[in-house]
């Protein structure tokens, strides 16, 4: 047992992976960006876009009679103001609508491009007409539904997960390799009998270990704080995370394969990631972009990753139903890796 353990500990692949792991854990900034930042982002977005109970809209009227009529609606909070004061409050947004009594009837002053103001207009008119004696022609009932899975936070969590997988894969691989090259450590390593493939494999192995922590922490938080649904198989979700991370690591390896300085590598990484931040549907659906650029958007690895993650988590799709994004990710895994191995600069 102990000799087996000793052989394991003296294996170069184990030592290389251990070194990578240690170097990551000893970098406090990396820990923040990998583990804490996505959680803070999810928390912020979750709070900003939470589904609130329907707001009571602030409105005002120029006569007490009108105010009374408006106040009869539970969706409105009405007060009486004079015309000048009302105009001022409209301008600074403390009321959404001003009902002005005229000789012909009532004039509603509001901004029709503001959805809240439009809602206030509908409610106010209904209240005023009801007070004047109008009756509903058809009896109507409300049956309220607040379902998880269709909220914005449910939509954005797989997006953030994909974004985080991309960031950690590309930054960690790219920077570590270029730093080692710049500090001539890479040259020193290849002058030793270290098998070269193990140097790269150690990156992937340490990445997979960190990935497990990263994904569990983030999705665990999303589950506990927002009750985000997991409708697909968890094993398939794990497989998708691994595939995503490997595909983007492969891209990171390609980016780092020639660059000699951190500045050059940093520029290349931003160049590679920027289109995906914008186009891949992290915060809103990628299908909003014009049809002309859709083939390009769909071919990006992050788009495929996020589509697959959303399919699994929100729609409960199995891998068999996600063949298109999975195939795109596999292509991104194989092609950049093959090119990177060919052109990699070892010194």
């Amino acid at each position: 047992m102990s000799s087996l353990q000793a052989r394991f500990q003296t294996s170069s692949l184990f030592q290389l992976t251990l070194a990578r792991f240690r170097l990551f854990l000893r970098e406090p900034e990396a820990i923040f960006w990998t583990f804490l930042f996505p959680i803070l982002l999810a928390l912020g977005l979750g709070i900003a876009f939470r589904n609130r109970p329907a707001d009571v809209l602030p409105v005002a009227a120029t006569t007490p009679q009108l105010t009374q009529a408006l106040a009869a609606d539970k969706g409105l909070n009405a007060k009486t103001v004079d015309a000048a004061e009302g105009a001022h409050e409209l301008a600074i947004g403390t009321i959404q609508l001003l009902a002005v009594q005229t000789s012909q009837g009532v004039t509603y002053r509001y901004d029709d491009t503001n959805p809240d103001a439009r809602a206030a207009r509908l409610l106010a008119d209904r209240a005023v007409q009801a007070a004047a004696g109008r009756h509903d022609a058809i009896a109507a009932q409300n049956d309220l539904v607040h379902e998880t899975g269709s909220r914005y936070i449910d939509f954005v969590i797989p997006g953030l997960l994909g974004m985080n997988l991309m960031g950690s894969a590309i930054w960690s691989l790219g920077f570590s390799i270029v730093e080692a090259r710049q500090k001539k450590l890479l040259k020193r390593m290849v002058a030793s009998p270290m098998p070269r493939w193990q140097y790269l494999a150690a990156f992937l192995l340490s990445r997979l270990l960190l990935l497990a922590i990263e994904v569990v922490v983030f999705l665990g938080f999303a589950r506990l704080a927002f009750e985000v649904p997991f409708r697909g198989s968890l094993w398939q979700l794990a497989a998708l995370c691994v595939l995503t991370s490997l595909a983007l690591s492969s891209l990171g390896l390609l980016i780092a394969s020639r660059a000699k300085t951190m500045e050059a590598a940093s520029g290349l990484m931003n160049l590679a990631m920027m289109p995906m931040w914008v186009l891949s549907g992290i915060f809103f659906s990628a299908s909003r972009f014009p049809a002309v650029i859709q083939p390009f958007v769909r071919a990006l690895p992050l788009t495929a990753a996020i589509d697959a993650l959303r399919g699994n988590m929100l729609q409960g799709m199995s891998l068999a139903e996600l063949t298109a994004p999975v195939a795109i990710l596999l292509a991104w895994l194989v092609i950049p890796f093959a090119i990177a191995l060919k052109i990699f600069r070892w010194r």
């Binding site: 003296t10 170069s12 030592q15 970098e27 020193r188 009998p193």
Partner: protein, 338 residues
């Protein structure tokens, strides 16, 4: 059985009785550890190595000496298998990089000029990592002891001084128990005390019988450490031999230097070189330099001639000839001018 000099030395340090040692014998084969012939390498227009032939014997400490840009590092990196030569043959330990690269990497130790090990790993972790690349070698403990880094074992590399980092690089080179050790400018950038410390370390390795090839642009370092040196300039070897042989090739064992007040042209050089025992004369930065065979017979007549020329001396000094003087004599330039 491979010779294992460092381990042997470490054992000696631990005062183990010699009877407990395995009978390890140096192979009698006198063959060269390193043989270069017709080595050439150009980078674009720049010819870095221009037809180098060299043999380094087993157990020798060999110095490759020259100013910056002389081609030392390119030569040594070709030997280390890091740079392929444009032409010429390289044989290390009887093996060839093109056929036995993996075997060679197991059997040589390398310290590169500017390697920076990861700041956030400790000394021990770094050595364990490097040890894992070799089939056999020292334990990381032994390597730490050889490099005298015991107190820094748990320290992160980022907290080490320049000298300690260089000793760590040395330990990483030794951890595979190499038969042939390459040290590229091991003391460049170190303070005098750290340099001396590193020299002591190299001395120990020499005593253990290890073959060492080092490059340096410090003449004193080569004189202190090397059994034989090759002086390189513009990609060529311009002198080769033991330090003593090279110094005596200048023609004098000693150098007399003087400066005069006023017009230096007033010095009649022919009267000085006519003195018996004066071999050569040159002027460097206002100083007249005479290479002489013997101080006590040549200095009095030099004084006499200078007095006869009515010159007032502002400086007069002598030193034993050094490799620096050899380089000056061969190239007409100073090493430090580069």
């Amino acid at each position: 059985m491979r010779v294992n000099p460092v381990r042997e030395w470490v054992r000696e340090q631990r005062c183990l009785s010699s009877t407990t040692l395995q009978p390890e014998q140096k192979p009698a084969a006198p063959g060269a550890s390193l043989a270069l012939s017709g080595l050439r390498k150009a980078f674009g227009d720049l010819i870095a190595v221009d037809g180098v032939n060299l043999e380094v014997l087993k157990g020798e400490c060999f110095g490759l000496l020259g100013p910056n840009g002389a081609g030392k590092t390119t030569t040594i990196e070709i030997c280390e298998g890091l740079t392929p030569p444009d032409a010429g043959a390289v044989k290390l330990l009887g093996l060839d990089w093109r056929k036995n690269a993996n075997e060679l990497r197991q059997r040589i130790g390398i310290q590169l000029q500017e390697t920076q090990f990861p700041d956030k790993l400790t000394v021990e972790e770094t050595l364990r990592l490097f040890r894992s690349f070799y089939r056999q070698g020292l334990s990381s403990e032994e390597a730490i002891r050889v490099a005298q880094l015991e107190e820094k074992r748990k320290s992160r590399v980022g907290t080490l001084s320049g000298g300690q980092k260089q000793r760590l690089a040395m330990a990483c080179a030794l951890v595979g128990d190499p038969e042939l050790l390459f040290l590229d400018e091991p003391t460049t950038g170190l303070d005098p005390q750290a340099r001396r410390h590193l020299w002591d370390l190299v001395d120990e390795l020499k005593r253990a019988g290890r073959t060492i090839i080092l490059t340096t642009h410090y003449m004193d370092e080569a004189e202190r450490l090397c059994d034989r040196v090759a002086i390189m300039d513009h990609g060529k070897i311009i002198a080769l031999g033991t330090v003593r042989e090279l110094i005596s090739s200048v023609g004098g064992e000693h150098i007399v230097e003087f400066a005069v007040r006023g017009d230096a042209i007033a010095v009649d050089v022919s009267r000085l070189t006519a003195i018996d025992g004066v071999r050569s004369h040159r002027v460097d930065a206002g100083f007249h330099q005479l290479a002489v065979t013997d101080l006590h017979t040549t200095v009095p007549p030099i004084f006499a001639e200078l007095a006869a020329m009515n010159l007032e001396l502002s400086e007069f000094r002598t030193h034993s000839a050094t490799l620096e003087d050899v380089f000056v004599a061969l190239t007409g330039r100073n090493l430090r001018d580069e």
